[in-house]
């Protein structure tokens, strides 16, 4: 505390960070929770929440189980075997992370819908694809890459030397895995499963597009506002959703200390792991190959649909969908996506770096509280966050505030945990004597931060920037309550176009949106002089 008083610059920076966190993270949430007021009684006695809660949990358990199983096979194959085509699988593994998760639902409709390529085109069937089965399948495909990234991260960190030692002491591959790898990575794997479960629980786009009458909490909250204008009801549902997510999140933090998150960064090389049986290697290879076929089918159908007149019935090549999305309000939406994403990523990464430094290097009381608040948005469902901003900042006296700016701010703070955790992890790699060296040479703490720490944290900054950008341009749930016609973005337009069954235009938007994310990643890779190669990146 005394050192803070001696350095007014640091104190000022800290107060600014605390103020921003209070206004843009804490306050909107409190507003949502407080909004129903007495309405909670009606809400609870009304009982409509029982079915959607049960269905949310049901679909969460099903989708998480399958996504984690597939993700584990993929991760095990990538980390433990020396199967061929690893670079290819790695690209396949990050592609879904660069796209809005709900485009899998769009592809699903294209492939299996009433006039679907596979269902109708090949089998001549008109299926009812909406409901639990559809959501389950779509979420499995949409979220297994997230599970893969999280699990691969955990497995990569398990110490190869210990496995070598176990093999040296006579344990077979299976024994090593069961008696060394698994016990050591159990907390990490548990955290990875819970993180995947949170992603699934919060998913709004997929159930909204193909859920049909099968409502889950996010779609119920959306329906209450868009259909009935029932804000108290929607906020009550959102609060319930937040409660569930927080339960999972607290359990996750107990397992890994709140330090797992899907980010884009270079993969650390490690020492070779003991070889696994050939049969296992090939089993993993075939599994990965089959998953890759599914992923390629999903994204391939999106690409073909974007380039043809009316896929799959009219296959005339055309650029008219791309012309449509680049003109008029759609062009604005695309431009907004890029501008909002860049602004949010820049400020989020910068702010997170400063906040990470203040928390990690500080010695003041209450830094654990700030630490918690900066990580908490990771547990907040996007829909809840969006409703929070819509509720808290939808005041007459704030009319001067541009909606685009509000969307940017929401993206900045919803994504703070990404950059913050990258910054803290980076700072832990930099010895405190670096700060002290600058100080002992006459630089104030802030000056040392600027001259020494920021340049050394380039990697963390890039991770925060790219991941935030990708998350910002692929989120639907955060912006769905915030956008106006002039501040709409690609994901909103995709969602609207799919709802209108206008797949050509929707997929063209999707391709453009994914293109933006890939572009951001590539530019960063070039800036980092290849230290993040696209093929080696994790998102």
């Amino acid at each position: 505390m005394r050192s803070l008083q001696r350095e007014p610059g640091v104190l000022l920076a800290l107060l600014a960070v605390i103020a921003l966190v209070a206004v843009f993270i804490v306050y909107p949430q409190l507003r949502v929770i407080a909004t129903p007021g007495a309405g909670y009684v009606d809400f609870i006695t009304g009982g409509t929440w029982v079915r959607s809660t049960w269905q949310s949990i049901q679909v969460m358990v099903l989708s998480t189980t399958t996504a984690v199983l597939l993700g584990f096979v993929f991760a095990y194959g990538m980390v433990y075997t020396n199967m061929p085509w690893k670079r290819f699988f790695r690209v396949i593994g990050i592609l879904p992370l660069l796209s809005p998760p709900f485009v899998v639902a769009a592809a699903y409709v294209i492939l299996f819908g009433p006039r679907g390529l596979i269902s109708y085109g090949i089998f001549g069937q008109t299926l009812n694809i909406f409901g639990l089965g559809g959501i389950w399948g779509v979420q499995t495909i949409a979220f297994f890459p997230f599970a893969y990234q999280l699990i691969a991260d955990v497995l990569t960190r398990s110490d190869a030397r210990l496995e070598q030692a176990a093999r040296n002491l006579g344990a077979g591959p299976w024994q090593v895995f069961r008696s060394v790898t698994l016990p050591l990575s159990r907390p990490g794997l548990g955290a990875a499963i819970l993180t995947t479960a949170i992603y699934v629980l919060e998913d709004f786009g997929n159930p909204a597009l193909i859920g049909g009458t099968y409502t889950v909490l996010p779609t119920q909250a959306y329906g209450l506002i868009s259909g009935f204008g029932d804000l108290p009801g929607a906020t009550a549902v959102s609060t319930l959703l937040l409660g569930l997510a927080l339960v999972l999140y607290v359990a996750k933090i107990r397992l890994d200390g709140g330090r797992s998150f899907v980010t884009v960064s270079g993969r650390a090389s490690s020492m070779p792991r003991p070889p696994v049986p050939v049969a296992l290697t090939w089993t993993c290879f075939i599994a990965c190959l089959m998953l890759s076929v599914v992923i390629i089918t999903v994204y391939g159908s999106l690409l073909v649909s974007a380039l043809t007149l009316n896929f799959p019935t009219v296959l005339t090549p055309t650029m008219q969908h791309f012309e449509y999305i680049t003109t008029g309000t759609n062009g604005t939406a695309l431009q907004n996506t890029l501008v909002f994403g860049l602004a949010a990523a820049t400020f989020s990464a910068g702010f997170a770096l400063l906040a990470g430094w203040l928390v990690e290097r500080g010695a003041w009381r209450g830094r654990r509280v700030l630490d918690f608040l900066l990580i908490m948005p990771a547990a907040i469902p996007g829909l809840f966050f969006g409703i929070g901003y819509a509720t808290a900042f939808n005041e007459p006296w704030l009319d001067w505030l541009d909606r685009g700016v509000l969307i940017i701010i929401s993206m900045i703070f919803w994504n703070i945990p990404v950059g913050y955790q990258a910054a803290v992890a980076g700072l832990r790699q930099i010895d405190r004597t670096m700060d002290e060296a600058a100080t002992s040479l006459g630089a104030s703490s802030l000056r040392g931060f600027r001259d020494v720490i920021v340049p050394m944290l380039g990697g963390s900054l890039r991770v925060g920037f790219v991941t935030t950008f990708v998350r910002a341009v692929t989120t639907l749930s955060v912006v769905i309550f915030l956008f106006t016609p002039s501040s709409t973005v690609a994901t909103i337009r995709i969602f609207q176009l799919v709802n209108d069954l206008n797949f050509g235009r929707a997929t063209a938007f999707t391709v453009a949106d994914i293109g933006l994310a890939i572009m951001a990643l590539s530019i960063m890779a070039v800036l980092a002089r290849g230290r993040i190669a696209l093929g080696a990146a994790r998102a």
């Binding site: 004597t433 670096m434 060296a437 002992s440 040479l441 630089a443 040392g448 050394m456």
Partner: protein, 361 residues
């Protein structure tokens, strides 16, 4: 009255209920090479970091050139520091590292370049200015770290085990370079180390620390030959510590019995002994002589048996049991001396025995 440059007065620092530094006080004269010596965890680095301003003392005052600096932020103290791991900025060249402090102080570019070049010459890095830190050897990195601090002409230079990451030979070489540097600049150095050879060979003044306290401070000579506690005697160099009891005080000397034997030894200045007091007789191994059993011994003769010995090049170290207790005896220049085995006589000169009041029992 010497010119006191740095004074610590009752300084205490607590970490989690443990007194890392416990009420220490000392004064360092201007221009001295002062060393804080002690085992790891003794509080020496914590003390140095409080002087630098990285930790706030919980109690006590730190006074630099007559001015209390407790409340002065670290970057305004003029206490440049050389770190154990050097903490060179990896994204700056050698030249930029050395010039960093001048840049922060807004020294004009020409003046800055002149001083950086001068300093690089001075620390022997004249041609390496454009290298990056990771292109330098450990010894070169160490010189950059020293140069980076010296270029600021700091009021006082703090060094935190600056040689401990180097290999043994280079460590000894740089030790003498540092000492020469300090004498040339007449700058006050505060140096932290756990290496007693380093402390003895470099310092004008040593404070030996243990468990957060300064056990003793003084010249290297005083510390080595007149340690005030058994810990000190044992920590600084090899030593024989033989428990005994004062039988009587006669003519300014103490007659001390140990086992079946007794010997009359001088009483060190500042020590008061009375009959019946428990003491430890402290004898350095190199102060003992060896002779074949039965030969005339210089001083008191103790019959003993060689248990084992180690050839260390410049000396031969013997472990010898005398009355069931093991003694260490060093014989210099083994190539020119007898090689002893079996029954021998250990020769003890009473004047070379230092008596320590035994507070442990």
């Amino acid at each position: 009255m010497p010119d006191i440059h740095l004074r610590l007065d009752g300084v205490t620092k607590t970490f989690g209920g443990v007194n890392a530094v416990d009420d220490i006080s000392f004064e360092i004269p201007r221009g001295a090479f002062a060393t804080l010596l002690g085992p790891s965890g003794c509080g020496k680095t914590t003390t140095l970091r409080m002087i630098a301003g990285f930790y706030d003392p919980d109690k006590g005052d730190i006074v630099l050139s007559g001015k209390r600096i407790n409340e002065l932020p670290a970057h305004r103290r003029g206490t440049a520091m050389v770190f154990q791991d050097y903490a060179l900025f990896p994204h700056m060249t050698v030249r930029d590292n050395v010039g960093y402090g001048l840049r922060v102080a807004s020294v004009a570019k020409e003046e800055r370049e002149r001083r950086v070049n001068e300093t690089l010459e001075f620390v022997g890095l004249g041609k390496l200015g454009d290298r990056w830190p990771n292109q330098l050897s450990g010894g070169q990195q160490q010189r950059v770290a020293v140069g980076r601090a010296l270029v600021l002409r700091p009021e006082i230079l703090l060094l935190d085990e600056p040689l401990s990451n180097l290999d043994a030979k280079l460590r000894v070489q740089l030790r003498y370079e540092l000492r020469a540097l300090q004498q040339q600049l007449k700058m006050t150095f505060v140096y932290v180390t756990h290496d007693q050879d380093e402390a003895l060979s470099l310092s004008d003044w040593i404070a030996v620390m243990n468990a957060g306290k300064v056990e003793q401070h003084g010249t290297p000579w005083e510390i080595y030959y007149h340690p005030r506690t058994a810990f000190l005697a044992d920590f600084v160099g090899a030593v024989n510590l033989v428990p005994g009891t004062v039988r009587e005080i006669r003519e300014g000397r103490a007659v001390v019995s140990f086992g079946e034997r007794s010997i009359s030894v001088p009483i060190p200045a500042g020590t008061t002994l009375s009959a019946g007091a428990a003491v430890k007789l402290c004898v350095r191994p190199e102060a003992l002589g060896l002779a074949p059993r039965g030969a005339a011994a210089d001083g008191a003769a103790l019959p003993g048996t060689v248990v084992r010995k180690a050839f260390l090049g410049d000396l031969m170290r013997y472990w010898i049991t005398v009355d069931g207790r093991e003694w260490i005896v060093d014989q210099p220049d083994p190539g020119a001396a007898n090689d002893f085995d079996g029954q021998v006589t250990v020769a003890v000169k009473p004047e070379r025995i230092h008596v320590i009041a035994d507070t442990s029992s």
